[in-house]
Assembly symmetry: C2
């Protein structure tokens, strides 16, 4: 695909809610690739002045008008009607409320994260189970039966969650080819689950190493990141969550099952910002990532579940293992050291980035070749050469948002849809030109490598892929 290809035509109106790093990054892609989507058809509704200049540069209407549960209907109603598109790229705005609104008015919808209203991630009047992404996802999925066949609402379709679900499918096909397992491209969910089972996949990490740096050192009392700081801190304060595979021998001592919903995942009685796991990417090698909760951990484990006679016979463990940029690791360290009292200053790194890349992919483990990583290596210079208003991190997200919007318009009556249910090849094709190198690589890494040397460690030598071996204690 060339960088000026028109991918589809859309002549409705579009509202972008939230215009931070992702909103700003996606706007040039939408204008570039969607025929008929002219600037005068787009309205931005956001909660601060950030981004006004860019909006004006493109001639797009910009409303600084924070949404809440009481005002969102009045604010959005005049802007969105049947056949229009609401692109939710905000924090602190309930995804479920906006999805329901769109279903009622007949508008398309997409977002990159199932967000609660402000404060929802840390509302300690809710149990950890109810503050989880598992609970948010169940609430969003509960809309399905109410709005079957409604206008497509593609939820959590960014890089991760989003793109990584597509990477998993491509990775499974690649592993099958490389290990001599013959398979068609599975036609349905059960087929995909059985392929993963057949290949022996036990654990899937979303293994990400962001190496972007700047020469502006992080200040004390400043949270620095390459994407939403509110978003990251919010999910970092939620319980660590992971899809819980059938090969796991024992629940972690601080692990809990939810008492409702699909039961594909567990949560730990601690925040992800304070929970580290061992993982691996081809360029970085072994490292410690944070087990930050993400909906893909839950949806992927759910999607690849194989049932026989109603009984779960196979499910992979799946979770995020995230090494954000170094300044964000330091920011987390400071945040946790101050008992989750947010820093006074925030800085979303963009122009000041001097180097580095986002190495983002999925790591599939347990098959005969050990560990296979498949993903995107996008460095900051490449990202900047591809589109304005992006860094390496945002571009992996915005290109997938573009792909999701195109797929939505091509599949307009699917109701509420998760990334795992989308045509992965269509989205990968659209996103690919923006992802830098898309590569697969095998590694002989296991979480038992170099363990038990300085001190005895409590590990399971018999099965390297037990969660207990990944976890850093």
């Amino acid at each position: 695909m060339a960088l000026d290809t028109k991918l589809c035509t859309f002549t409705g109106r579009m509202v972008i809610v939230g215009f931070g790093s992702i909103g700003q990054g996606v706007l040039p892609l939408l204008l570039r690739h969607i025929d008929g989507l002219t600037a005068d058809r787009i309205t931005i509704v956001t909660a601060e002045e950030r981004g006004r200049e860019e909006a004006e540069h493109y001639g797009v209407a910009f409303h600084n008008n924070p949404l809440d549960n009481d005002n969102f209907f009045q604010i959005l109603k005049p802007l969105i009607d049947k056949g229009d598109f609401l692109v939710n790229l905000s924090v602190d705005v309930s995804s479920v409320a906006l999805i329901e609104f769109c279903q009622r008015v007949g508008a398309f919808y997409t977002d990159t994260c199932t967000e609660p209203w402000a404060g929802g991630y840390t509302d300690s009047s809710l149990s950890p189970s109810l503050r989880s992404n598992y609970a948010l996802r169940e609430t969003a999925l509960a809309l399905r039966s109410r709005f079957e066949g409604g206008p497509t609402a593609l939820i959590t379709h960014g890089a991760n969650p989003g793109l990584v679900s597509h990477f998993v499918k491509q990775a499974l096909l690649n592993i099958a080819a490389d290990t001599g397992v013959e398979t068609d491209i599975p036609a349905d969910r059960d087929g995909w689950g059985r392929l993963a089972q057949k290949l022996g996949i036990k654990t899937i990490h979303v293994a990400e190493r962001d190496t972007q740096v700047s020469n502006q050192p992080k200040q004390i009392g400043e949270f620095v990141n390459t994407w939403s700081i509110d978003g990251f801190v919010g999910e970092g304060c939620q319980p660590a969550e992971l899809g819980w595979g059938t090969h796991e021998k024992a629940l972690p001592p601080d692990g809990r099952r939810h008492e409702f919903g699909c039961d594909s995942a567990i949560y730990l009685m601690r925040p992800g910002a304070a929970t580290r796991v061992r993982t691996w990417t081809p360029l970085e090698g072994p490292f410690h990532g944070f087990l930050i909760t993400h909906s893909e951990a839950i949806s992927i484990s759910d999607y690849f579940t194989v049932r026989e006679g109603g009984k779960v016979v196979y499910r992979p463990t799946c979770h995020y293992a995230y090494h954000p940029c170094d300044d964000a690791v330091m920011s987390l360290h400071e945040l946790v050291g101050k008992n989750y009292n947010m820093q006074a200053e925030q800085r979303l790194m963009m122009h000041e980035i001097t180097g580095g890349m986002d190495e983002l992919g999925v790591l599939l483990m347990g098959h005969p070749k050990g560990a296979y990583w498949y993903g995107s290596r996008l460095d900051i210079d490449t990202a900047r050469s591809l589109a304005p208003y992006n860094n390496a991190t945002s571009m992996q997200v915005t290109s997938t948002v573009l792909g999701g919007i195109v797929w939505t318009l091509e599949n307009p009556t699917r109701g509420v849809v998760e990334p795992d249910e989308v045509d992965f090849r269509r989205v990968l094709d659209i996103a690919a030109p923006y992802l830098g190198e898309v590569v697969g690589a095998y590694g002989d890494w296991t979480p038992l490598q170099d363990r038990n040397t300085l001190f005895p460690e409590d590990i399971d030598e018999d099965d390297p892929w037990q969660f207990k071996n990944f976890r850093v204690v």
Copy 2:
């Protein structure tokens, strides 16, 4: 004291073993403050070319000649005789071997750390107990009885270990004055122990926050620190160790007692580089520091032990709670993430530092006013204005080394001596002009502040000063 005061006269020869950040930083101070110590009387014996330029600048002989167990006698013998002074500021050279050598030839000795020969910190053929600073200290102290009345050998006398032992004494006197407890300056060890007991001190942290930064971002595969990288990694790989107070209700699950020696300390079955504790300094506020083993944790707990009828009736818990500069926190994170396989590159930050300070002091907790921090706030600009070849961190060390050398020459026949046995006022007076602001401050902080909010935590509400409350799990 003025910056050109001559503090004492010394006309013997001096050998400086190791000429890294501390050796290079101390040389100008020694030439400035010790009468008779001319450049031609000093010889540097080190293991690399680093520092040659500075040595040549001052006209000091520079030998790049790494010492080991087989060659050290031959190399040092021609350079050191009765009445000379060996200043050991190296890594990877056995302190005990050099102390014994000095006792035999009749030379003075000082160092800032009890070092083993290369590889000693991570020799996994030794048990964690035998790889500890506790064991190293016992071996050094065992020389005492063999060389009673020998030339003074002042061990572990840098900033910490070293200066902080003197800070503790001054802090105790300040707390006594502020809480209306009448006391003379105690005359002996028992008197100091009883003062600490009377004041109700339960736990002492060496609470340090190094905020020095540069605009040269840490590279991947690079360990960055403001002082010895080998030294820091070495101690970070040793077991976490702490002086173990009589108020502690239960040994930590991974805590062990040693089966020999003074029994003032315990160790954890894990490296300090992976062990975090909650602490507090007046400027930084609450933060997570690393529980890196240091001999002061053991010696202070030992020194302030009160015995009655041979039975221990009082002892404070004491340990390091270290927040190195941000780049060093990132370097540790990378090191631990790669299972303690050392980075290929190292950078000891010096000229490139653009700002920040070393806030280094002792935090005495449990007395009626809660928590009292007493220490040095030295920023990089002040450090640079005071002496060349120093950053804020090294200057707190080198000024104390200077004070210790002067005290040694004034007290020449004490044999092997620890910082706690030195005249704290003499050293504080000498170091003070180089320490920036030396301040005391009370805080209402306890490790229970802001706990138990997002998730239930296993804490002891009845006694905030239990180690279990400080520890980050």
